[in-house]
C-alpha cells in the first residue's frame, strides 16, 4: 500500500497529539478528586481540627538584638550556602528591619521600642499559599500537616513561585551552591543549581520527633513552635496571652507564623 511522505507525517503527528491529549484528559479527571500528591488536603479544606497544623510564634520581647543563633542553626543543619553577593543569596530564615517587615503597622507615634529592631522572617507556610497555586509542576504543595513542601526533583526552576510569594521567602540557586557550603552536613542532601528552595519547618526533624533547628537553637526561647490546631500547644498558649500580628494578612494567605508584640 503506497503512502505518501506527507500522509505518513500527518498520521505520526496526529498519533502523538492523540496520545498526549489522553494525558490531559486523565489530568482533568484526576483534578476532580483530591490529588494524591497533596495528602490530607481534604482535611485542610474542611478546616478539620483533627488535622495538625504546624505553626510558629516569634516573640519580639525575647528575641535578642545582635543574636543570630537561629539563622546559623538553620544554615548548618540544611547545608544552606553562604553566598557573599546579596543578589544571589540563599536564605531560609534571616533578619530584616521591623519597618520593612511590617510597613503598614508602623505609625509615626507608635511603639518606639520596636523601631530599629530586627525581626526574623521565614516562609510563613500559609494556609492558602499563592506559591502552591502557581507552580506548574506541583513541585511545591501544601502537606496535610500544614507544611508547604518543596520537591527539588520536580522543580523546573521557572521561579513563578518566587514571583507569587508576597513575603519574599523563597531563594533560587543561581549556580552550583556546593562550593559555598561550609561545613557540609553529610546527613542531608544539598540542592543543585536551577531549583528554588525555602524553609521547610525542618520537616525531616519533625518526622523524628524533634523541634525545628531554629527553635531548638534559640537560647532565649523566642521561637515557639507547635500545632496550631491543638488548643493546649505551646504556640496556642502564647497566642492566647499576647497580641500577635502576621505579615500582610489582608492578602488572604493565612500565614502560620505569628509575631508576638
Amino acid at each position: 500500500m503506497k503512502i505518501t511522505r506527507k500522509d505518513f507525517l500527518r498520521l505520526a503527528g496526529g498519533s502523538v497529539l492523540v496520545a498526549g491529549s489522553g494525558n490531559l484528559v486523565k489530568a482533568i479527571s484526576a483534578a476532580a478528586q483530591p490529588s494524591s500528591t497533596v495528602p490530607g488536603s481534604k482535611n485542610i479544606a474542611a478546616g478539620g481540627s483533627t488535622a495538625r497544623r504546624w505553626g510558629m510564634a516569634i516573640d519580639f520581647e525575647k528575641c535578642r538584638k545582635g543574636c543570630d543563633d537561629c539563622i546559623r542553626a538553620c544554615r548548618l543543619t540544611h547545608n544552606i550556602p553562604q553566598i557573599p553577593d546579596p543578589a544571589h543569596e540563599v536564605k531560609w530564615i534571616w533578619e530584616e528591619p521591623y519597618e520593612k517587615v511590617f510597613p503598614f503597622q508602623r505609625t509615626d507615634y507608635g511603639r518606639q521600642d520596636l523601631a530599629g529592631s530586627r525581626v526574623p522572617v521565614l516562609c510563613n507556610h500559609c494556609a492558602d499559599p499563592p506559591c502552591v497555586r502557581v507552580c506548574p509542576t506541583q513541585a511545591t504543595w501544601k502537606r496535610g500537616d500544614g507544611i508547604v513542601m518543596m520537591d527539588y526533583h520536580r522543580c523546573i526552576g521557572c521561579r513563578y513561585c518566587m514571583a507569587a510569594c508576597p513575603y519574599g521567602s523563597r531563594s533560587f540557586n543561581w549556580f552550583d551552591p556546593r562550593p559555598y557550603i561550609k561545613p557540609l552536613n553529610p546527613q542531608l542532601p544539598t540542592r543543585t543549581k536551577g531549583v528554588v528552595e525555602k524553609c521547610n519547618f525542618c520537616e525531616e526533624r519533625l518526622a523524628d520527633g524533634l523541634l525545628p533547628a531554629c527553635v531548638e537553637a534559640c537560647k532565649e526561647k523566642a521561637l515557639v513552635f507547635g500545632n496550631l490546631n491543638d488548643e493546649d500547644s505551646a504556640v496556642r498558649q502564647a497566642l492566647r496571652v499576647r497580641y500577635a500580628v502576621q505579615r500582610q494578612p489582608e492578602l488572604g494567605t493565612g500565614p502560620s507564623v505569628f509575631y508576638l508584640i
Binding site: 500528591t37 513542601m149 557540609l184 553529610p186 546527613q187 542531608l188 542532601p189
Partner: protein, 142 residues
C-alpha cells in the same frame, strides 16, 4: 579497476574503525573482567531480591523518592519483613553499600551508564567523611 587500492584501503580503515572498541577492549584486557563490586560487609540480604535490584534498582529508587518526598512514606518494608528508612545517603550508602565509588560506579562505568544527576544534591557519605577526615587531619575546621 584503477581505484582498487583506494577502495580496499578505505574499506580496511572503515572496518578497523567500526570494530575499534572490540579489539581495543581485548588489548586492554578489560572486557573479560567483571566489575569488581565491593559488597556490603555487614549485610547479607538486600532490600529486594538481587535479580530485581540488578534490573530495576533505578525504579526502586524513584519509588522511594516519590514516596518519601511527596507522600511522606519514610519507611520501606522489604520482602523479607525488614524495615528500612528511605534515604539514599544514609541507608543505601551509609547502612549498606558504603561507597558510591566502590559499588555504584564500578558497574556503571563498566557498562558506560552515566548515573543520573542524583549526586548533584545527594551526598556520597564516604566521600564526605573522607574529605572531613582529611580536613581535620590537616588541622582545619571542616
Amino acid at each position: 579497476m584503477r581505484d582498487r587500492l583506494l577502495i580496499f584501503s578505505g574499506l580496511f580503515l572503515f572496518v578497523a574503525g567500526v570494530t575499534f572498541p572490540m579489539w581495543q577492549g581485548i588489548a586492554a584486557k578489560t572486557s573479560t573482567k567483571e566489575p569488581d563490586l565491593q559488597l556490603p560487609a555487614n549485610q547479607t540480604a538486600c532490600v529486594a531480591p538481587r535479580s530485581y535490584m540488578r534490573a530495576a534498582h533505578m525504579q526502586l529508587l524513584i519509588d522511594w523518592r516519590e514516596g518519601a518526598v511527596r507522600e511522606h512514606r519514610l519507611r520501606y518494608n522489604a520482602y523479607d519483613g525488614k524495615s528500612y528508612k528511605v534515604s539514599l545517603t544514609n541507608t543505601c550508602l551509609g547502612q549498606c553499600h558504603g561507597s558510591k565509588e566502590k559499588f555504584c560506579d564500578r558497574c556503571h562505568s563498566y557498562v558506560a551508564v552515566s548515573a543520573p544527576y542524583c549526586w548533584d544534591c545527594h551526598q556520597d557519605a564516604s566521600a564526605t567523611a573522607a574529605t572531613t577526615a582529611a580536613a581535620t587531619a590537616a588541622g582545619r575546621t571542616p
